[in-house]
Structures are given as C-alpha cells and as structure tokens.
Amino acid sequence: MTQYIIRHLIHSVIIVWGCATLVFFLMRAIPGDPIIQMLGPEYTPEAADALRHKLGLDEPVWIQYFKWMGDALRGDFGSSITGAESVGGAIASGLPKTMSIALLAFLIATAIAVPAGILAALKRNSPADFVVSIIAFLGVSMPSFWFGIILILVFAVNLGWLPSLGYKSFSSDGPVEWFRHLLLPSLAIGAGYSAILMRFVRASLLEAMNSDYIRTARAKGLSERRVVVAHGLRNSLIPVVTVAGIQVALLLSGTVIIETVFAIRGIGRLLIGAIFDKDYPMVQGTILVVAVIFVFANLIVDIIYTLLDPRIKYD
C-alpha cells in the first residue's frame, strides 16, 4: 500500500507537471494579447512595448517557461500581470471559499442521495421510487445558474432568511455567518450533484441486492437491516465512490458559475477571469493547484476502495 501510494505520488507529479506545461504553452497559443487589453484606450505601440518589457513578456517563450518553472518549484507563482495581486495570495484567498462550497455541496448531495437512493432501490417500482426518480430527473436537468438565482429570489429576496451574496470567513466571522453565506451556493450545486449520485446509489444497490452473497446473508437469518447496510450497501459503494471522485471535477466546475451568481471569488471565478484576461501567471498557478486537487481526490478514492473492499490490494 505504501509502495502504491509512493508510486502514485510520483505519477501525480508527472501529471501535474504535464498539466502546467500544457497550460503554459496553450495560453500563449490562443489568440488575444493581454497587453493590448490592459492598455485599453491608452494603447500605443510604444506603451505596449514598455509594458511587455516590464512584465518580461518580451523574452523568448522557453526562457519565460524555465523562469516560471524554477520559481514555481520554489513555491513562488509570481504576480498577476493585469493587477497588483500575487498569484499565491489570490489562490490562498480563493481556495478556502471554493473548498467550503464544494465540501458543503458534497455533504448536502450525499445526505440527500444516499437515503433517497436506498429508498428507491429497496422500494423499486413503487410510488416512492417514481417520485425520487422524478426529483432526480429535475435535479439533473436544472442548470445550477438558474437554480441559484431561484434560491436567491426565494430565500434572500422574498423570505429574507439568508444573504443573497458574498462569503464570510470561518475564522474571522464565525461558523454561523460562514454557514449562512455558504448554504445557498452549496445547495445550488449540491442539488444537481445529488441527483446524479442518487441514480448511482440506486442502480448499484439494486445490483448488489440481487447477488448471491445477499441470498446467503438472508439464509443465515440476518435481519433485513443488517443485510442492506452491512452487505448490500457496503458492496454497492465502490461504483458510487468512483463516481463521487470523478464528480469532484463537476463540483469544481460547478463552482465557476455559482461563484459568479453569488459574487464569491473562489478558485473557479479566479481562473475564468484570469483566462479571459490572459493573465498567464494567474492561470498557470491556479491550474497547478486545481491539478493537485484532482490528483489527490483520485488517490483518496483509491485508498477508500481498499477500506470498502478488502479484496482490493495495490501491492
């Protein structure tokens, strides 16, 4: 297991380096010159040359690449070229917000999906299954952008229970304010996510419940509750965990839109804004962090497999 993790970590470094390199060159290949936009109406060729020189963008691309790589290895991601912000600072400020939203969305989704999926599977083809499936269908079809606006209109504008925008820090503003500001954005993402997850729980539990070991468990005289929880559910969780891991990607991409709707500048909005502005260092630094998150999410999924199913061994 330790060996596996070490091997996986080495792979991860290569993957992350590959991502960073690809992004570095892709950003420079797509059309649009950040200098022209930054100067706006004040653009003159002389001003553009001066600014390009100041930002080091007049050097050959490969020199820029090695400089950036060298700095990044030392933990220095540089500064935004369109503003005064340091890339590290922007990520440090955005990451807790995105992770908070994603974490709460994940919890909300799981809290909805697992019981609903079990209910639908155990009461297959019953009215309960039908209702849960319809709700799941709506959940998947509903764009999170639209759902977010509806949540704002209902809970912030009409009922006045929750704030319509912004983020409060857990440490400086307290857990209550933090939670109040997170609830609507997390719900907006979590709803769609829970629908997908619910379908997987249902399908995979149905499959597990038709297996031979379930028949054996019942024949042993175990209670139905124990049959479902200890044998059915546990074995059905492997595909669910796989999907959940991959869906971390969905959560993160979902936050891009939701962060815009709720005026929260997390990693998603930071990245999109930086891509639009062609803020090279900001895009590169953010992608690097996102890549690390993905790789680790996958590693964690692999480790959870072994906990769920002792037959899975990596060594």
């Binding site: 100067l39 109406p41 005064a84 504008v157």
Partner: protein
C-alpha cells in the same frame, strides 16, 4: 493654431470656473463646459427632488454604507495604473484627492489647490496648494508630492496607461511647499478636467512617496495610501471581492459623515439587483439596464438618473470593400432602428445617439429632435442604397464580446432587411480587443465610455492618428476640426467645431451612431446627502438616517 492668439486663457484660473463664468465669458476648458448647461442631464424628477430635499437636513455622523459595485474585480487601485473610468470616477475619487474637483454642474472647483492661475497663452499653470494637508499615513502633503507623482506616472519603466495625459507637460516644479508650476508645450482645453481632477485626473493624484518605497508598487496597488476623504483598510482588500474604506479623520474638508464604506463587487447584474432587493446592499454604483424596472419599483428606494458621458456606435472597416463605399455604410446606418433596439437590448433605458457628443456635455450636446440626422432610420432609403452598393448577400463579420450579445443579435436581424447576412463572431474580451486593434473585422461596435470631457470620445476616434480609429478613417477636414477644438479656449467656437465634426462624421457614416446610456444610481431612502455628479461618486457628504 489660428484660434490660439486671440484667446485669453487666464479665465481658466481659479478658484472656481463656474457655469456662469463659462456662459458670460464664453470661455471654457473642456471640463468646465462639460456640464455648463446640464439641461439634458435631467435627473429623474422624484429622485432629484428627494436628493435636493434631504440635502437640507442636518447630517448625522456614523454608520456603515454597503455599496454594491457592478464589477467582477479591480486588479489595482494604484491611480496611475487604473484604466477603467468607472473605477477612477467612483472609487479612486474617494481614496484620493486631486488639484481640482467637479461641482454638481461639472464646473471646476478647488480640491487640494485652493486657487490657480493660467497664463494668457494657456501654457503655464500655477496652483496654490492648501497648507496642513496630510496623507492617510500621516505624512504631510506638499507641492513636491505632485512633482514626485508626475515623475512616477511618466517614468517609461513604470508603463502607466495614464502617462499620455502628462505628455504635454514640459516642466513641473515646486518653488515652495504650497506652489506647483506646470508648463505645457501647447494649450490643451481639457487639461484641468482630464489631468488635474479628483478621480479622472488620476495621472496626477498625489501619491505618498514613502508609502510607495515601503510597500513597493504592487502592494501599493492593493492598499494605496492616498489623501482623499476615505482611507482603505488594507486587510479587507480582495481583488475580486471588494474592500472597506473608513473615514479619514484628518481630511482637509472635515471628517466624512460615514464611519465606513463597504465596497462589495458583484459581476453578475441580476445578483446585484437581487442584493438590493434583499437589502444586502444599501446603494448601487450603477443600476444595470436589466434590473432598472425592478429597482425602480422597490419601496423605500430612490433612483437618480443623470445624463451619461458615453456614446456607442457601429463602425465598418474602410480597408475592406464594400465598406470603403459611403453608400454601403449609409445603407447600414439607415437600416438600424433605434426604438426596436432600445426595447430589445436595453429595456427602453437607452437614449438615441446622433453623434459622439454625449448628453452629459450639455453645452455642446444636441438631442436627436434638434438635429437633422442624416442617419435617421429609413428602411426604403436604406434598401435603395444597399442595392446600389451591391450589399445583397454580403456576409460581414461583426466582432463583439458576450456583453454585446443583445445588441449584436438585434443588429443581425435589422440588417437582414437590406440583404446583409451578418456573421456574429463573439469572442472573449482579449481576443476581441486584439482583433479590433489590428483591424481584423468587417464591423465592430465601439464607443467612448466615461471621461470628463468630450475630447477623448472625439479626437481619439475621428482623428486620423487617433488611438481608437480601427476602421481607418482619414479625413483632413476632420483632423482640423478635432485639433481645433483642443486648441481653442472659446466655448462658442469649441462648441461649433465639435458640432461641425459631429455633422461631418455622421454624414460620412464613419459610424452608425446608436445610443447613449444614462448614469443611474439607486439607494435606500435612509441614505442621505447624495450629490449627483455625472459618472462621479463623491461619498464624503453621505450619511445614514437610521
């Protein structure tokens, strides 16, 4: 040049260049004329009445104003690096002071300079700086700080997008702590408004040298040390979130009424509107067109509308046939129906444009009904012109950004009436700006957004060497008019030159001039003391009645 000798520029001297002076003496700098007759800058009646009424009440001290601001991020607050007019006029103007500032009519009144003199040839400016001024960090502020700021902004290595505003200055000096002398190579009518004013004149917004040296340029951009009525709280600054600013106790004009202003950035217009409806913000910087009706219908909310300083149009690339043919351009101009576009793209909030002279510049602006508009909507004439120019089946590529989508879609529909099959190429801002700058388009929507004088929206766009002339317009007559309006100090002459230029470019269909957007703000009724100055927000007089 012919205008220069006869004019006595010394009437631009302070301490006040008022509307009355302008009219009586018929002399103006650009910005004093900017609103010399704000006849068309009518604020909405109820809003304006309420504003006037609550200005007479005695202000209460204290309180926090939560201010919703319709931007996704503010990359820097370093005045010399800010290239968005809205950030300069509405945010920097509260963190920094200028030599002069605007009154409600956009006349020029003292700010850090108590008084000033302009030589009769219009080349020498002498400012008398107040005594006892300090920066937010407690350092004293003297004339030398303006010299330092000039040197910093104009340093080529610093690459300030504002450096060109200082290009005419040949010498700047501080003979003593309270005197600042600037010499220019040529007279420039908008100098006070565009270079010396609080907010827009950010090229010369005085910077604390010690703060820059201690913090470095980058950190200074995040938490600038200014001298305006409010000072930034550095630990609250989030580039994409906003910041807080607190009252500056030692501000020369006396402590502002509010304790604190919380600037909350909101990129999505519908979220901004919802935040106002939910009471999560007390005031909006600008009400988005899409939410005007919702905000206007809210109980306990005042909307105040002032004329805009902007214009927007559609231009066609002279380098690409058939758009070098005036008939082809005029066919497009006459085929565009403003009323239809206003309804579909702006929910009825826009004002019809007949040229680049915006409604806020009341002294020179002419409303559509007073102008014989050669581009007036007339589909029959448009069709005839299109036929003679052979436009049927032509597929012009119209470049734009997602923000222009409603307008570009409307244009495509309207122009299909004259046989054009408009191909909309919607790009991200960056690629769009590059395509536009390099002339890689058939059609592009463009215009001048916010500035303190019509000069920027005219010279830059219609002079053959102007920086915003991607369509390649080159007419010596237009060059003369654009240069001439800069070089005269006579408001009547300047007005005539600007109007002649407007007539010329409209009749040649350099652009299809489409619309102006008004400057609309909104706040809850407990927000008192708001003074409407077009495209500026001075917050020191605000107070909360609750």
């Amino acid at each position: 040049m012919k205008h220069r000798d006869a004019i006595d520029w010394s009437v631009l001297s302070g301490p006040r260049v008022s509307r009355r002076t302008l009219l009586q003496l018929a002399v103006a700098s650009g910005a004093t004329g900017y609103a010399a007759q704000l006849s068309h800058a009518a604020a909405s009646e109820s809003g304006r009445q309420r504003v006037a009424r609550n200005l007479q009440q005695e202000a209460k001290q204290g309180g926090e104003l939560r201010w919703g601001f319709g931007l996704g991020q503010i990359p820097t607050l370093d005045p010399a690096q800010v290239n968005l007019g809205i950030v300069a006029g509405e945010l920097l103007s509260n963190l920094f002071s200028g030599l002069v500032q605007f009154d409600e009519q956009l006349g020029i009144i003292p700010d850090l300079a108590e008084d000033w003199e302009v030589s009769s040839d219009g080349l020498d400016y002498t400012f008398h700086i107040r005594t006892g001024l300090t920066f937010h960090n407690g350092d004293s502020l003297t004339a030398n700080d303006f010299v330092y700021t000039y040197e910093r902004t104009s340093n080529p290595d610093f690459a300030s997008p504002q450096a060109n505003k200082l290009a005419l200055i040949t010498d700047i000096s501080a003979p003593d702590d309270n005197t600042l002398v600037m010499k220019q190579s040529a007279p420039y009518a908008p100098f006070l408004a565009t270079t010396c004013s609080r907010g827009p004149g950010r090229a010369l917004a005085p910077i604390s040298k010690r703060a820059v040296e201690e913090m470095g340029d980058e950190q200074f951009g995040l938490a600038p040390v200014g001298c305006g009525p409010f000072m930034i709280v550095p630990e609250t600054v989030e580039v994409g979130g906003g910041f807080e600013m607190v009252a500056f106790e030692d501000w020369y004009g006396g402590r502002p009424n509010l304790d604190k202003v919380i600037v909350q950035l909101v990129a999505e217009p519908s979220t901004l509107v919802s935040a106002m409806e939910a009471g999560d913000v007390d005031m909006l910087d600008i009400v988005p067109s899409i939410g005007f009706d919702r905000i206007d219908a809210l109980d306990g909310v005042t909307t105040v509308e002032a004329a805009g300083t902007n214009w927007y149009g559609l231009t066609m690339n002279y380098a690409v046939p058939p758009w070098d043919n005036p008939d082809a351009r005029m066919a497009v101009a006459k085929a565009i129906d403003f009323d239809d576009m206003n309804k579909k793209a702006f929910f009825g909030r826009a004002v019809e444009s007949v040229g680049p002279l915006a409604p806020a510049f009341g002294w020179v602006y002419q409303p559509p009904e007073e102008v014989d508009n050669p581009q007036a909507f007339n589909l029959d004439e448009a069709k005839a012109l299109a036929e003679s120019a052979g436009l049927d089946g032509v597929k012009p590529r119209l470049i734009g950004t997602p923000a222009d989508q409603r307008v570009t879609e409307t244009l495509r529909n309207q122009l299909s009436e004259i046989g054009l099959d408009v191909q909309i190429d919607q790009m991200q801002t960056n690629a769009y700006v590059e395509s536009r700058t390099s002339g890689d388009f058939d059609m592009v929507m463009l215009g001048s957004v916010v500035d303190a004088d019509p000069d920027d929206g005219v010279w830059n766009y219609f002079h053959s060497t102007g920086p915003s002339n991607p369509q390649g317009y080159n007419n010596p007559e237009a060059d003369d008019l654009a240069d001439g309006q800069r070089e005269t100090g006579d408001i009547e002459e300047r007005t005539q030159l600007l109007r002649d230029l407007q007539t010329l470019v409209a009749s040649e269909a350099v652009y299809k001039f489409m619309y102006h957007l008004p400057d609309v703000t909104a706040f809850y009724d407990y927000v008192m003391g708001y003074v409407p100055i077009p495209e500026q927000r001075y917050l020191e007089g605000l107070w909360l009645d609750k």
